[in-house]
């Protein structure tokens, strides 16, 4: 689908009404990607734009937030609202933005070092809160922007600039971690399979709650162990194995597999848990917090003062 006709509803502020023909070009950002030729991140960029198009999300309705790293440059390459924040902090910023305006489609993009390393604490807590976000991690199992050091997802034994004799540490496995921490939509894609990735991202955006899409996004410059050849040979789609994403035990089992076969697809999904903004009484009526009138009424002011007397 390359063109979508989108009807704009009047909502909140003074919005133009009417119909627009949306094309993939409408999602092109102001800057050109500065990624290396062949970088997996191109696949995520095109998949994200395609997902937004297919879901009829207008550029101003989405807020794409990233941290720091090669992949975190992504907000500059899409035409939506964007925030290019600090290393590891995108999920915190995104939580604040989503709670301040829960009508925005908030999408977080970044890398494995950003999300699973320096941002690890926020990662766990954002999942347990089930904040209504779509988090796409471009997982290349290496630190690229800093020119090739160990990442939290680098496999044991991997030789990098910071582990020249091979890493002795075990990597993080984000899939079981996310399921255990309380994410309500947990998927993995591969940037060599863009159509599949589009579907996973669409599912994540449509899901009400925290959606993780870990995307194998090979670094062609610094990670020669886990390149396209590796993933082409090993990945299989969970959908082809008739996996039931509500089956916790099966989701964990597939999540832990890392050998001759590596699963991609939707591991885990539950819809019985409300997202944080649905649980927050302050958001029950009155629309987005950010647009509400400020100030305290004289009656409320009086009651606050009475408490002190």
């Amino acid at each position: 689908m390359n063109v979508a006709t989108v009807e704009i509803e009047a909502k909140g502020t003074a919005q133009p009404r009417g119909k627009v023909n949306l094309t993939i070009k409408d999602f092109k950002g102001k800057a050109e990607p500065d990624w290396c030729a062949g970088c997996g991140d191109f696949g995520v960029l095109s998949a994200l734009k395609q997902a937004l198009l297919e879901l009829h999300i207008l550029p101003h309705q989405a807020l794409v937030i990233s941290g720091i790293g090669c992949s975190s440059n992504l907000p500059g390459y899409v035409s939506t609202y964007g925030m290019h924040t600090l290393h590891g902090r995108a999920l915190s910023v995104a939580t604040g933005a989503q709670m301040a305006n829960h009508e925005l489609k908030v999408i977080v993009t970044g890398g494995d070092g950003d999300g699973y390393g320096i941002g690890g604490n926020h990662f766990i807590h954002t999942m347990r809160r089930n904040v209504d976000l779509t988090y796409i991690v471009m997982n290349n199992q290496i630190y690229g922007l800093t020119t090739g050091q160990l990442s939290p997802t680098s496999v044991k034994g991997m030789a990098t600039k910071s582990t020249p004799f091979g890493s002795v540490e075990n990597p993080i496995n984000p899939i079981p971690l996310a399921i255990a921490a309380g994410a309500t939509y947990v998927a993995r894609g591969y940037t060599g399979q863009v159509k599949h990735l589009v579907e996973l991202i669409k599912g994540g955006i449509q899901h009400k709650g925290f959606a993780l899409i870990d995307a194998f996004s090979p670094c062609v410059t610094f990670n020669h162990d886990n390149g396209h050849e590796f993933f082409k040979q090993k990945t299989f789609k969970l959908e082809d194995r008739k996996h039931d994403p509500t089956d916790f035990a099966a989701a964990m089992k597939y999540g832990y597999e890392w050998g001759d076969e590596i699963a991609i697809g939707l591991f885990w999904k539950r819809t019985d848990l409300p997202a944080l903004d649905d649980l927050e009484p302050v958001l029950r009526e009155g629309g987005p917090l950010a647009r509400r009138a400020l100030g305290i009424s004289p009656d409320v002011a009086k009651s606050l003062i009475r408490e002190l007397m």
Binding site: H60, L63, G88, T95, A100, A290, L308
Partner: protein
């Protein structure tokens, strides 16, 4: 007739119920229209240890918790042993004689033992001694019993008539026992007929935020800042404020950034350790040009330090917070009521200049309590959000596209909030051009970097004219000037009054509230008229003295510093000024006599 100046102290272990009689006394004072200043010296301990609450009251505003105690209620032997030696002639000590024994007291100190066993033979638990002591105190200062009866009735309403009767009965026994056995103080607690309110500094900060229209508050609990979180959480649903407790302070500042960028007024509070974690985020807010307010309630550092003790030790941390140069406003409120007024003022500034604002409070202000005339608690403050697009109303024309970081003379570029059609843009912590495109994305461009850096920093020039220069207290021609900053205003003012009244030494005082930007010209001009400049601050190295020197070239003639965790008392400053003026020392460090 001389004005009333009454201090009552209650001491004991954590868990002995010191807060309740303290609150009751404070309410009685303010309901009679008396002013109040209270300070609670406590430890980082939930049960045990030593807590010492001092409440001071007068018809006039009370500037500090003072130098003396008129009535002490020791709830345990430890408190009696620690403090009896400091009680002066004319004071009274009320205690449960069944359990607590006094050592030798100074002449003229009235020891007032009562027996809990006799007065409340049927009541279990130790809390009853508090009720008896409180009733006896009220008798000594001439407060009618009805007042306590009403308060106890209200306090125990939920527990039923039997509990009310029991407590009122015990209180009456204590009141009557005091009437027949103890000598009352030589006055009756006046009633001005104009009831006041009272609050602690953290409440004042939170209420100032509410008045300013804070819609998003987040924090990680940290003493002594948690009171702001508690007030916000308690009132969140009433006031439509989103309150979030976050996993760490890095998350706090970044969550506040997200909410502020989306269009909310966002605030957070912490203490020095949490603030250290927030510093990169503050620079990020400044780089992306997102306004927010961050409160640092200082406690004694470094590291975990003394968690329940006060200090003004974070000045350089706050001034140096974050890498690189960036525009920001740093303000240190000077009194508890000033905390309330400062927050809305700062929000208007940060919204207008699109930068972070930092409030430097400390334990003394934030956990201290002060009376306030309710008419001064003005919630109808002006709310000025600056150049914002898409918040409400119509959108400005898009002439050739929107540039988030458009170069302007003031350095202020209108900011569009996410969700506004036609104004989509990227904000970035990487330096960027007018369009928000990263400078490093296009090839690094030193000219663009310089121009954007200058645009951001140019905003600082607009801030100074919008804030008040510091006020000089006391005789303009005194010749000796004390310089303080933030929370020490009350105690310094009291010290200069004391110096004039008791020592015949004329001293004035310049209290600095706005730290960045600093009124360099006004401060230099004031201090140039003084023969001696003495800087008073609650830290070891003279952080403000060094800052003042760096900005004005003025090196102070003397220093009064305190870094034992306890706040200054007026006589500490008086003694320091006398020694410095006598040429005995250039740097005076008082010894805190009270062991708390």
């Amino acid at each position: 007739m001389a004005k009333l100046d009454l201090s009552i102290a209650i001491g004991g272990a954590a868990g002995q119920g010191i807060a309740t009689p303290g609150d009751i006394l404070a309410r009685i004072f303010v309901r009679r229209g008396l002013h109040l200043n209270a300070y609670n010296a406590y430890q980082s301990i939930v049960r045990g240890g030593h807590i010492f609450l001092t409440l001071r009251t007068s018809e006039d505003p009370v500037l500090s918790f003072g130098d003396k105690i008129d009535i002490m209620i020791p709830l345990n032997q430890d408190t009696m042993s620690r403090h009896l030696g400091l009680m002066k002639s004319g004071s009274a000590v009320l205690y449960n004689g069944d359990k607590i024994k006094p050592s030798e007291a100074a002449t003229g100190v009235q020891l007032c033992p009562f027996s809990v066993k006799q007065l409340a033979p049927n009541i279990k638990g130790d809390l009853v001694q508090n009720t008896i002591a409180l009733a006896a105190v009220l008798q000594l200062i001439g407060v009618e019993f009805k007042m306590l009866e009403d308060i106890l009735t209200l306090q125990f309403k939920r527990k039923g008539q039997a509990v009310i009767d029991e407590n009122v009965g015990v209180a009456r026994a204590g009141y009557e026992y005091a009437a027949s056995h103890f000598k009352p103080l030589p006055f009756s607690l006046p009633n001005t007929g104009k009831p006041l309110a009272f609050f602690e500094g953290n409440q004042a900060l939170a209420m100032g935020g509410a008045a300013a229209g804070v819609r998003f508050y987040c924090a990680y609990p940290m003493s002594p800042s948690s009171g702001v979180l508690h007030w916000m959480a308690r009132h969140a649903r009433q006031l439509d404020i989103m309150v979030r407790q976050v996993e760490d302070e890095i998350g706090v500042i970044n969550m506040a950034i997200g909410a502020a960028h989306a269009g909310c007024r966002a605030m957070c509070a912490t203490s020095g350790g949490g603030f250290a974690l927030m510093t990169e985020g503050l620079g990020a807010a400044a780089m992306m040009e997102i306004p927010l307010v961050c409160i640092n309630v200082q406690r004694a550092g470094p590291a975990t330090g003394v968690p329940t003790k006060t200090e003004q030790g974070d000045l350089w941390q706050v001034m140096g917070a974050g890498q690189g140069d960036y525009p920001r406003i740093i303000v240190a409120p000077t009194t508890i009521p000033d905390c309330f007024k400062t927050v809305p003022q700062l929000f208007n500034l940060v919204d207008r200049f699109q930068c972070p604002g930092i409030i430097l409070s400390d334990l003394l202000l934030s956990e201290g309590r002060s009376s306030i005339d309710p008419s001064e608690l003005d919630f109808a403050v002006p709310i000025e959000r600056g150049a914002m697009i898409g918040l409400n109303g119509s959108l400005p024309p898009l002439n050739g596209g929107y540039k988030r970081y458009e170069f302007t003379g003031s350095g202020i570029s209108p900011r569009a909030i996410p969700g506004t059609p036609g104004f989509a843009h990227v904000v970035a912590t990487d330096d960027h051009d007018e369009d928000g495109v990263l400078i490093s994305d296009e090839f690094t461009n030193p000219h663009k970097r310089q121009a954007m850096h200058e645009k951001r920093m140019r905003k600082m020039e607009g801030i100074l004219p919008m804030i008040d220069p510091p006020r000089l207290w006391g005789d303009e021609n005194a010749g000796v000037t004390l310089v303080g900053w933030g929370s020490t205003q009350g105690v310094i003012r009291e010290a200069i009054e004391k110096l004039s009244r008791e020592e015949g030494i004329a001293v004035n005082a310049l209290q600095i509230k706005w730290i960045v930007p600093l009124h360099v010209r006004e401060i230099a001009s004031t201090l140039s008229r003084s023969k001696k400049v003495i800087i008073v601050e609650n830290n070891y190295s003279g952080q403000f003295a060094r800052y003042l020197r760096s900005e004005t070239g003025i090196a102070a003639d003397g220093h009064i510093r305190k870094y034992d965790g306890e706040p200054f008392m007026p006589h500490h400053i008086v003694n320091g000024v006398k020694e410095i003026l006598a040429g005995q020392t250039k740097q005076y460090v008082p010894v805190h006599e009270i062991m708390v």
